[in-house]
Symmetry: C2
Subunit: 413 residues, 2 copies
């Protein structure tokens, strides 16, 4: 969330200055909002040029679903305009409409007994089609050369199902890098093939960049560009990193999608979204990225960090997989590399000791709660990386052997 580091002086100064001058709601057009929209749009490929501001990634994803719904409605497509293809383990936010497309959430909680098909239903109806996460470590398809096409075939099948019923698809909604699903980067060709399939079925490709946007992957500004720099989603959402902790998020789309929303949709107004103070924080974040070359830093230090962890695999059997790109790294812990038995107690212990003894915050994700997630601020340095790896090594080699893991409960996530 603190994309450019906690207590970033440029962000602090921007917020302090603006709050001392004016904060107001967004019925009153402030230059900060206008300039921020222009600069954000310039970071996205054409024809993504229309920006809607929100306060959170959840609001952004909710609005993206609205836009896609209006698009389908205007196109006159048959069906409920809610047919949506989502990925197992996906998390797109906390609103009722978000939860419906977030298997990570509704599969964790006690399931509601609701009429299938309703929004907010925790057992979504036939309008929500869940495809397997394109996980080449643990999933059914593990050859990186063919996995992209193989996993995309599930999306194609979902499209065929709706098409065969004479219905259109509202959207394929997917994170460019799947964070809570266990730090999964879609294999080559996956997103491109899925995008083609959903377009053929009349729907939109919504790229959720709430976790991965603004350069985190190092090689690209947005995760959807990771394998295919020419790929252009219909709607892109961003959140967490945008305001360096201040509530700020956005939806960016094409003029075509925006105009259809204007024609058939219900006016979107959001009191706080893009207010001058939060927008000032957003502008400072974009300045920091640009001036300090933070995307390049993520690539350089992230690659260094991954290599360090890869080399640890020769001595630490617990590390089953090291994956990701830039500052979006997952370390999957297993008790048995052959069978990939999830080492959730060990992962929980390591995460906990890193925090309590070494004052380093990591988090745990993945369906088996055994993926240590490393998503440091974009200013993380080589020295920080060395220190982190050293602490990790100490935790695993010195603290872990004396731990009574049987006492450990599965970590709540």
């Amino acid at each position: 969330m603190a994309h450019c580091g906690h207590n970033n002086p440029r962000v602090i100064e921007a917020v302090q200055d603006q709050v001392g001058i004016l904060n107001t709601n967004t019925r009153y057009l402030h230059p900060n909002m206008v300039v921020l929209a222009q600069r954000l749009a310039a970071l996205l490929p054409d024809p993504l040029e229309v920006v809607f501001f929100c306060n959170s990634g959840s609001e952004a994803n909710d609005l993206a679903l609205r836009l896609a719904r209006a698009y389908n409605s205007a196109a006159g497509g048959k069906g409920s305009h809610t047919n949506t293809i989502v990925v197992q383990g996906a998390y797109h936010g906390h609103t009722l409409a978000n939860l419906e497309v977030s298997p990570y959430k509704y599969e964790k909680g006690t399931e509601y007994k609701l009429v299938p098909g309703e929004c907010g239903s925790h057992v979504p109806g036939p309008h929500i089609w869940k495809v397997p996460a394109p996980d080449i470590f643990r999933g059914p398809h593990r050859d990186p050369k063919t996995a992209g096409a193989e996993y995309a075939s599930y999306v194609q099948r979902a499209c065929q199902y709706y098409t065969s019923r004479g219905e259109t698809v509202r959207a394929f909604m997917v994170e460019g890098g799947m964070s809570v699903a266990g730090v999964i980067l879609p294999p080559p060709g996956y997103l491109t093939a899925c995008c083609a399939a959903v377009h053929a079925a009349g729907g939109l490709y919504i790229a959720d960049e709430v976790q991965t946007g603004l350069g985190r992957l190092g090689t690209c500004m947005w995760a959807f560009q990771y394998h295919d720099p020419t790929l252009v989603p219909d709607i892109v959402t961003l959140g967490k990193p945008f305001g360096n902790g201040m509530p700020l998020a956005a939806v960016v789309t094409s003029r075509k999608v925006a105009e259809r929303f204007e024609t058939v949709g219900v006016e979107y107004f959001n009191t706080f979204a893009g207010n001058p103070v939060c927008a000032a924080a957003g502008l400072a974040v974009l300045d920091e990225l640009e001036v300090r070359g933070l995307q390049h830093n993520a690539l350089e230090v992230g690659t260094y960090l991954q290599n360090k962890f890869r080399s640890l695999m020769t001595t630490i059997d617990l590390i089953g997989d090291v994956r990701g790109s830039g500052f979006f790294i997952g370390i999957e812990m297993v008790n048995d590399r052959q069978n990939q038995t999830p080492a959730y107690a060990e992962t929980s212990y390591i995460c906990s000791i890193l925090k309590s003894k070494y004052h380093i915050l990591t988090s745990i994700d993945g369906p088996a709660d055994n993926v240590l997630v490393i998503k440091p601020p974009m200013v993380f340095s080589i020295a920080d990386a060395d220190h982190f790896v050293e602490c990790f090594k100490l935790t695993v080699t010195s603290d872990l052997p004396s731990a009574n893991l049987s006492k450990l409960e599965k970590t709540p996530t």
Copy 2:
């Protein structure tokens, strides 16, 4: 939104100080969030003691619908857990779930052709029951002594409908003061009777205080207390005024409702909500209210302002009604008091001249776009009120007669 006034020194200092120390997401419990929750809960009647933070009123109302749904699910009530009674002209936010309960929005836009009953449907299905706004100026029941019971009977009928089908009601969701519906305060007895009816049908009473909370009505901290200080909703939401412009909102409920949500719901987590910086703004707002006695100021100056406008009615025929309480005032403009013909062109012109010539911001609401809405910051003084009335008088008596109103389009709202 700037509840304690634009550029309020206490709020500015609180934000500037905290952003210079630490901002972080709410996985990490910061004292500001804890203290703010305690102080907010102390402003609400028992048993409302559990606080969920959000970034916006929309998020708060979306979460309130989730809580009510989980409550019904846990109670084992039959039905879809989405049966909700809402008021004509109501606005509860911009998320897909909010829109469904916001006739103000979906009745204004071009209606979608959707399968009835779906969330986000702009022609809500049978699970959304719309009752008439309890408007004693323009509605079917105009005697203040009997209107409360008469309007409540629509809610009772809705409850009976669901009950007769063996279904429970999720909620009756209502603004304590209906802002966009045209600044309508429910008549005496209305909310109390509606609350009893919805409880008997197994549902919850959700009080939306996004516009009216934190003392705006002058006589009470919350609008639901206006006619009945003993009335206690099951869920209260607040937004706009809470952070004086910083994104901050909350849902407050009882431990019973919160515990049922914990049992059957899906975990609620919200990255930015209640972060230390926005919470600092919230704390400063509560300090201002308390130290400066702003609720009392709203009562005193608001009453003065209403009296001024009432006395203008003797000379300005255009004023059809003056209503509200404290700093929640509506001036309804009519061309003909007998027939109450909405003077929307005149209202639009007045609002526009007040802004362009006199630099005073008002807004326009109501189904006929003819209610001038006066919701000043809580620090508005007698001198401000005099100046405003003077400018209004000048606009109506000096600017308006020479205006070519035929050129005026209906104001977009």
